[in-house]
């Protein structure tokens, strides 16, 4: 129990919060995001970014005063918030006295106005300090709530914010379900009406409170009921499954054309992610040149179905005939590129495969191979696939193609995971030497991982080429490999639902927040770092990985290294 004020902690967290606020202000995110209103014109996304750090600072400072009397907690929160305001004030002072603007492109009058709430001089500093101390106070009040209320309120706030951020999506879906009355009740433009936001907050709080209350009652319920609940849970599982299936089939017609494109993108990355998941997640071979196979698939499709030097009579191949060939080409290149790297492990493998990916891209760009691969102009006018007279034109219809591809890939992944080969991969991932001693043929096992992963990637590439009708070497950069890798990591290595969640989180959400495209990769990087620091096993980890990564938590394992 600590009841004395811990000034150092308050100062430290306050300064960290202030630096975070300064960082987001100086790189221009606060200004760009403040265009996005969340609740009326009172709260915008920029505010959240600016004061989020201060809120967190206040919360952390108050948490260090666990068990202190209420007044001291409040004081800690207030002070941490006020300290946090000092750092942005430095920026304002700097802007007035030094010529920062020609150097830092995002130190603009607009951001200064946001920081000072439009006031000049000392009044501006005062109001910034007051607001940020107020934010710290909010954090202290939140922390002082009894835990029974804290978690439902926190969840309700989070969900309201999420709904507000994705309001365009919500409005679009409401419109397609012809519930425009509800949407005009809740939103003005694309931000919540203040009253609606408060109502929603209360409703959600009540809902989460009720849910938790029911959950605690369940835990204390008598054990006889468990058999019944198990059956009930199975039933809800089946119903959920059917609903999900129905949604997946009807999705393009519920969500409209733009969101179908988003779904297509998600599907494409699910396909890529499932393939890479075999290489990285199952077999433990870190492949950063995965985009190469995607490119092989796309170029095979492009070259076979259009007129090029290699293929003067494109009429022979249609999409359906070229698709298996593209996959076979991908598998072959998986074997060819896999062979030289059989002896490499870990970091080295990562860098060499990265090198392969870049070599392929540079070759596709060069004049040398331009007669075949089109050089910098790429390959144009790839025909639209059609089946029984239906053209797969536009995102709504291509979605079905990619949906089918991903389902197939998911099915193959599940079957492979539980097969003898899957177990060999996992044994190899855990320890190559032991696996070899157990009689596993490492050459064959590794090559199969590369080849099958490459096949999935090539399938994705072929569909991608048919969707875009045009491919350029620039579409096949390192970023695709990194995206695919990140979504596996974020979802949980080796986990198939994880790949899907990862694709939705890392590909789907940024597509929806397109107005902030500029900051997409920045957020990506931050997510990767934070994820690795906080939850390295991903959102939906498999049991093995979870156990492995938390091995050092177990008491019987002495931790050799001392962590700072």
């Amino acid at each position: 129990m600590q009841t004395k004020m811990n000034w150092i902690v308050i100062l430290r967290y306050g300064l960290i919060g202030g630096v975070v606020a300064l960082y987001f202000s100086m790189i221009g995110m606060v200004e760009a995001f403040s265009l996005r209103n969340l609740v009326g014109t009172i709260l915008n996304l920029g505010n959240i970014l600016l004061f989020g750090g201060m809120l967190a600072a206040g919360y952390m400072a108050v948490r260090q005063h666990e068990g202190a009397p209420f007044a001291k907690k409040v004081l800690a929160g207030l002070l941490a918030g006020a300290v946090a305001a000092l750092v942005p004030i430095l920026l304002i002072v700097g802007d007035q006295n030094l010529a920062l603007r020609p150097i830092f492109v995002n130190v603009t009058p607009a951001i200064i106005r946001t920081l000072t709430f439009g006031r000049e001089g000392a009044a501006g500093f005062l109001i910034l300090t007051l607001v940020s101390a107020g934010v710290g106070l909010l954090a202290a009040l939140y922390h002082s709530l009894p835990p029974r209320f804290r978690s439902p309120i926190g969840k309700a706030i989070a969900w309201t914010l999420i709904l507000a951020i994705f309001s365009e999506l919500v409005i679009q879906i409401l419109r397609n379900l012809s519930a425009t009355a509800l949407s005009s009740l809740l939103f003005t433009g694309n931000s919540f009406k203040p009253a609606a936001a408060i109502g929603l907050l209360i409703l959600l709080t009540a809902l989460f409170f009720f849910q938790e209350w029911r959950h605690t009652r369940h835990l204390s319920a008598d054990p006889v009921a468990t058999e019944k609940t198990k059956r009930a849970r199975l039933r809800t599982r089946v119903i959920q499954f059917i609903l999900l299936g129905a949604f997946l089939l009807a999705a393009p017609y519920i969500v409209g054309s733009f969101l179908s494109q988003v779904l297509f993108e998600i599907g494409r990355y699910v396909l890529l992610g499932l393939g890479l998941n075999i290489v990285v997640g199952y077999a433990g071979l870190l492949d950063l040149g995965y985009v190469a196979f995607f490119a092989f698939g796309a170029y095979t499709m492009a070259i076979l179905t259009t007129t090029t030097a290699l293929n003067p009579s494109p009429g022979v191949f249609n999409f359906w005939l070229a698709l298996p060939i593209a996959v076979v080409v991908g598998v072959l290149f998986g074997l060819i590129l896999g062979f030289p790297v059989l002896r490499m492990r870990g970091d080295y493998l990562a860098i060499v495969t990265l090198g392969f990916g870049e070599i392929i891209r540079i070759l596709a760009l060069s004049d040398w191979l331009a007669p075949i691969m089109g050089g910098a102009q790429g390959v144009l006018s790839i025909p639209v696939p059609s089946l029984f007279g239906i053209d797969f034109r536009g995102p709504e219809r291509m979605y079905y193609l990619v949906l089918f591809g991903s389902l197939l890939a998911a099915f193959i992944s599940v079957r492979l995971r539980d097969s003898r080969l899957g177990r060999q991969w996992m044994a190899m991932r855990e320890d190559e030497d032991v696996a070899e001693a157990m009689g596993i043929n490492l050459v064959q096992t590794k090559l199969l991982a590369f080849a099958i992963g490459a096949g999935f990637s090539a399938l994705g590439g072929a569909i991608f080429a048919a969707r875009l009708n045009t491919i350029f070497p620039h579409s096949f950069n390192l970023l695709i490999s990194v995206n695919a890798l990140s979504l596996i990591i974020v979802g949980g290595m080796g986990s198939i639902p994880g790949v899907i969640v990862g694709a939705i989180a890392l590909v789907g959400l940024p597509e929806l927040l397109r107005q902030f495209q500029e900051y997409r990769l920045l957020m990506y990087g931050i997510v990767l770092i934070v994820m690795m620091l906080v939850r390295p096993e991903g959102f939906l980890p498999t049991d093995i990985i979870k156990r492995e990564l938390h091995r050092s938590d177990a008491p019987d394992q002495p931790n050799v290294e001392i962590q700072a």
């Binding site: 790189i27 060069s366 990140s486 500029e518 931050i526 690795m532 700072a564």
Partner: protein
């Protein structure tokens, strides 16, 4: 007596050996073609050699950062290219200010020294932040995890600098003293290339002296040899790791200024990617973890990259070979890792290290 084990040749070894022979044949064929065609004069080869050496010394400085960190933590600091970018990009503004105020041309040596110090300082700060925030908490994690963090850090740094300074290309101002060329062995060589080369070599010599002759350097070598024993000997591991990142960062920052003198254009937030990968190649080429190796690897890679397109690719009859310059570095990397993963000077790494 041990029973003699009959020699077994696996299919993979056989294949790799054949591949090695094929590569050698192709290179010799290309060299022969180029030599008989005699399309370029000795002067133009010399130009390529000196440009390659200057570029290579910049690679070497960056490569030292990879090698130092790898030697101690056994991890590839994937974001090191961004550390280099941070120094180079931030210093453009100071250089422009010096140029505007006339200081740069009035007092070029002092001005350039100040620029180098400033860039080294910025890069060092970035490297230290990187270590503190992204790597230190993960020191005991499985090896894949810091690598992924490093990829994330790389993106974060790129787009942070884009947010700070914008996305336009900037360029270093010209220094009038460095214009023109000197006569070396009868070839005219741009002064800037000589200055960059010798300054970089001086820095490398200073680093070598630091690691081999000072107490802090001794501690560094001890930690890279065996961390646990070093700790038992009373060495503060954290301090050594911080020093390592600081040194690597400072060298990368200096490399950023040299690059700005040598190739003033093209300073922008993504400029770190290719030099980063190439410097890594250089480090692997020389033997990663080995300090003289990084220097030799850097210079060699600079030469290969500079001469390769004309010497080998044109010999193979590939048109517009200079487009494939970047691919050469990657090909070298792949070939080195396949055939001699320990590099030129490196010792054979045990499986745990490799």
């Amino acid at each position: 007596m041990l029973k003699k084990v009959p020699l077994r040749i696996s299919g993979v070894d056989l294949f790799l050996r054949l591949f090695q022979i094929a590569t050698a044949v192709v290179i010799i064929y290309a060299l022969y073609n180029t030599a008989t065609a005699a399309r370029y004069s000795a002067g133009s080869w010399a130009t390529l050699v000196f440009a390659g050496l200057a570029q290579g010394s910049i690679y070497a400085l960056i490569a030292l950062g990879y090698t130092l960190v790898y030697g101690i933590l056994l991890m590839i600091n994937f974001a090191h290219g961004e550390v280099y970018m941070a120094g180079a990009l931030s210093t453009v503004f100071l250089a422009e200010y010096f140029a505007r105020s006339g200081f740069l041309n009035a007092n070029p040596i002092l001005a350039i020294l100040l620029l180098i110090l400033f860039a080294a300082l910025i890069s060092m700060i970035v490297a230290l932040l990187l270590e503190r925030i992204a790597y230190r908490p993960l020191r005991n994690a499985p090896r894949l995890i810091p690598l992924i963090t490093a990829i994330g850090a790389s993106f974060t740094l790129q787009y942070t600098f884009r947010g700070l300074f914008g996305s336009q290309f900037r360029s270093y101002p010209a220094v009038s003293v460095l214009q023109g060329s000197w006569n070396v062995f009868g070839f005219s060589v741009p002064i800037v290339q000589l200055v960059v080369f010798f300054a970089a070599v001086a820095l490398m010599a200073a680093l070598y002296w630091y690691v081999e002759r000072t107490k802090a350097g001794k501690a560094m070598r001890a930690v890279s040899e065996d961390k646990d024993v070093a700790r038992l000997m009373g060495i503060n591991i954290d301090k050594v790791i911080v020093t390592t990142f600081a040194l690597g960062g400072a060298l990368a920052g200096a490399a950023g200024v040299f690059n700005g003198l040598f190739r003033p254009q093209g300073v922008f937030f993504l400029m770190g990617f290719f030099p980063g990968i190439k410097a890594f190649t250089a480090a692997v080429l020389g033997g990663i973890g080995n300090i003289p190796g990084a220097m030799i690897g850097g210079l060699l890679l600079g030469l290969i990259e500079s001469l390769g397109p004309n010497l080998i690719l044109e010999g193979l009859g590939i048109p517009s070979a200079n487009q494939l310059k970047d691919a050469i570095a990657f090909t070298v990397l792949v070939l080195i890792l396949i055939f001699r993963p320990q590099g030129i000077l490196g010792e054979r790494l045990s499986d745990k290290k490799a």
